[in-house]
Amino acid sequence: MVNFKPTEDQELLRETMKSFAREVIRPGAREADEQNAIPSELPAKGWELGLVQNSIPEEHGGFGSGRSAIRASLKIEELAYGDLAMALHLLTPRLFTIPLIVAGTDQQKAAWLPMFAGDSPVVGTAAFTEPAWDFDPQELSTTATPDGGNYVLAGRKCLVPLANQAKAILVYASAPDGLAAFIVEPGAAGLSISEREKNMGVKALDTFGVELAGVRVPASARLGGEGADVQPLIDAGRVANASMAVGVAHAAFDYACEYAKERQAFGVPIGQKQAIAFMLADMATEIDSTRLLAWQAAWCIDQGQPATREACLASRYATKASLEVADDALQVLGGHGYIRDHPVELYLRNARGIATFDAMAIV
């Protein structure tokens, strides 16, 4: 039966994320962007939210609440509202743990998950995006070639968050039988991590290029074993992307609304002018549209239904809507929107990233 109300547990979770985003994340967002670094105390504080440990099964040391795309979607939106770079930092280990929970073999789960269920932060990550304008998520140019009982990985990746401190990297590559993912450990021969990348937005997030020059991994490192279908993981990445977009757009919208109610022109707050008010009305409608599309796709994933179409619609819609909303928010502030004293230019730079991000987070 159709229902738009999150469960009480989900509401509680949402509230927790909301206050963390507003009280812990937001106050440090500008400084983090200017310094190209997250606040040093963030990882430890963020770890207490249980973003990573929650979904890990109890038998592997986690809290065992399982994987829920809807729950993740709600969390990601709230965190991204605080600051996208910091949200992505906190969510990064999930790029490794969620695929394992969803698609990993029993041995892979037992070998890797307990490490991420402890009391202090542990980093895992995933390498998906490739540094090419014609990057194709369905046909990666990074290859996985079988060689005896091993696979040999070759190719280049970019936008790999926290690659320099990851205990393991999930590398996506084209295997002869289709798209696949492989668990690669740091220090593997042939694996090299570039200098920290310089991006337009999410500047506080450490991202790296990763080069795989004939990295040899055992067949047992293939996620889910031979023939495992990783398309659902890509769908889950797109839903996360859409939810991040909602958070960023919502942050920009809220700031513009507050500004419009305070800023006076011609004797009234500019919010009382239809030219501004109608812009804000459209922004609100687009934010809700994007959120509902993200929920729809997340729901499909949780139902075990094919979600490629829904995830694609949500992600593509989010790409356009979040950029438009952030751009309109900046316009509401006029010249002030262009100045770094206000956060709106930061939201605009972050929103632009949504189009480029693929599997930078996962639900």
């Binding site: 999150p6 809807i70 194709d136 998520p137 109610k261 009305a281 549209s289 599309l293 619609l313 593509r316």
Partner: protein, 413 residues
């Protein structure tokens, strides 16, 4: 718990309605568009037989109670959502024909929202018996549309009657409700022009009441199967208890607010009708592409998608978004949650989406799209009304803006 699965009863009525849309509406879609003022009586009579007294196309008080009984005390109602789902199907068939289906319509919605239980029984019972009947709502006047507080039509008490004088335009099904059936028209009039919106009330005028005249039936861009009438009231007398709600004029303007609350229920339904038309156009485009072996590659990167695929993916996102906004507004109302903001959002969005999607469909289909041999051009003409009636795009933007900014109608005019 967040859930996008329709209930079994919703699905089954949707599937039934789809059959009607496909087999009863589509085949006569073109001819009813070409012959604007001829009523498709065969269709009307058939629809009356299958739908009268049900919530398939319009709700009645009796249905509410049956619903509540069937659902049990703990199950939430699904009445508005079910209507949205069925209306989407019917309008996938033909929106003009949907509007011409005999039922209590917007007039019934006003009686349902602002009337007493006695009034609901008195005025709505007729829609489940006898011959086909229509209910209509008359708000718009030659000199006022969205600004309904500026209504000039007057209602003056004379003994045990109200005397109505004024002119109403753009009254959907006005001809059928006022003259061609034993239906009624809900007429909005002011008890005191100097008191503004606080004095606006709704009056039920039964078909055939002396003093009510249909003076014009409009020629329109689209939705031609439905009549849009001008009604003139000249010393038109109705019983005192045909006034919906209370006659007392208070400064709070509660009567007007009550009447405006009708829109919280009708806007999601009108928005759903837009979603139906948009879906019809988009499905036709996709089916046409499929005939040439073109399937949409949803996961593919931008540089590999054709411009056509990109268009279709974007349009599909728009249609899904509009539908989800409609469902949310309907779900809220069904669950007793105030949905004024969300009702306006879904209406504003659906109006834009259906206009855009149908225009793109005509563009994509080229000469096929522009030809009156096919229905795409008709859908484009039919679509535009969704962005106008039941509150224009701009009026809904205004309502949304007031809600999100916390402004009164005085602060944000």
């Amino acid at each position: 718990m967040i859930d996008f699965e329709l209930s079994k009863s919703c699905k089954s009525i949707r599937d039934m309605t789809h059959q009607a849309a496909e087999h009863m509406m589509r085949p006569i879609s073109r001819e009813t568009d070409e012959n604007e003022h001829d009523k498709p009586w065969e269709f009307i009579n058939a629809m009356w037989e299958v739908s009268r007294g049900t919530t398939m196309v319009g709700g009645t008080d009796a249905d509410d109670k049956a619903d509540a009984k069937a659902a049990g005390p703990k199950e939430p109602s699904e009445r508005i959502l079910r209507m949205c789902v069925t209306v989407e199907e019917l309008c996938w068939g033909d929106v003009g024909l949907y509007l011409s289906i005999p039922n209590s319509g917007l007039g019934g919605a006003a009686v349902g929202a602002a009337g007493t239980p006695e009034q609901r029984r008195r005025f709505l019972a007729r829609f489940s018996e006898g011959k086909p009947k229509w209910g209509a709502m008359a708000i718009t006047e030659p000199s006022c549309g969205s600004d309904s507080a500026a209504i000039q039509t007057t209602a003056v008490r004379d003994g045990d009657q109200w005397v109505l004088n004024g002119t109403k335009i753009f009254c959907t099904s006005g001809l059928m409700a006022a003259e061609k059936s034993e239906g009624f028209v809900v007429v909005w009039a002011t008890l005191d022009r100097s008191a503004g919106r606080a004095a606006i009330r709704a009056f039920v005028v039964d078909a055939g009441t002396p003093g009510m005249f249909v003076t014009k039936v409009e020629d329109k861009l689209g939705i031609r199967a439905s009549d849009t009438a001008t009604l003139v009231f000249e010393d038109c007398r109705v019983p005192l208890d045909n006034l919906l709600g209370s006659a007392e004029v208070k400064k709070t303007g509660k009567g007007f607010k009550g009447a405006m609350a009708t829109f919280d229920a009708t806007r999601p339904i009108v928005a759903a009708s837009g979603v139906g038309v948009a879906r019809a156009a988009l499905e036709f485009v996709k089916d046409t592409m499929k005939e040439r072996g073109i399937e949409i590659r949803y996961g593919a990167p931008l540089h590999k998608l054709t411009a056509l695929e990109r268009d279709v993916i974007d349009l599909e996102g728009e249609v899904d978004a509009a539908r989800l906004l409609v469902w949310r507004a309907a779900w809220m109302l069904d669950n007793g949650i105030h949905n004024n903001l969300e009702a306006s959002m879904c209406k504003a969005k659906a109006g834009l989406v259906v206009t855009h999607v149908t225009q793109k469909a005509v563009e994509i289909l080229g000469p096929l799209g522009y030809s009156r041999e096919l229905l795409a051009e008709k859908w484009m003409r039919d679509a535009k009304i969704t962005d106008i009636y039941e509150g224009t795009q701009q009026i809904n933007q205004l309502i949304i803006a007031r809600r999100i900014l916390g402004y009164s109608s005085e602060e944000l005019r």
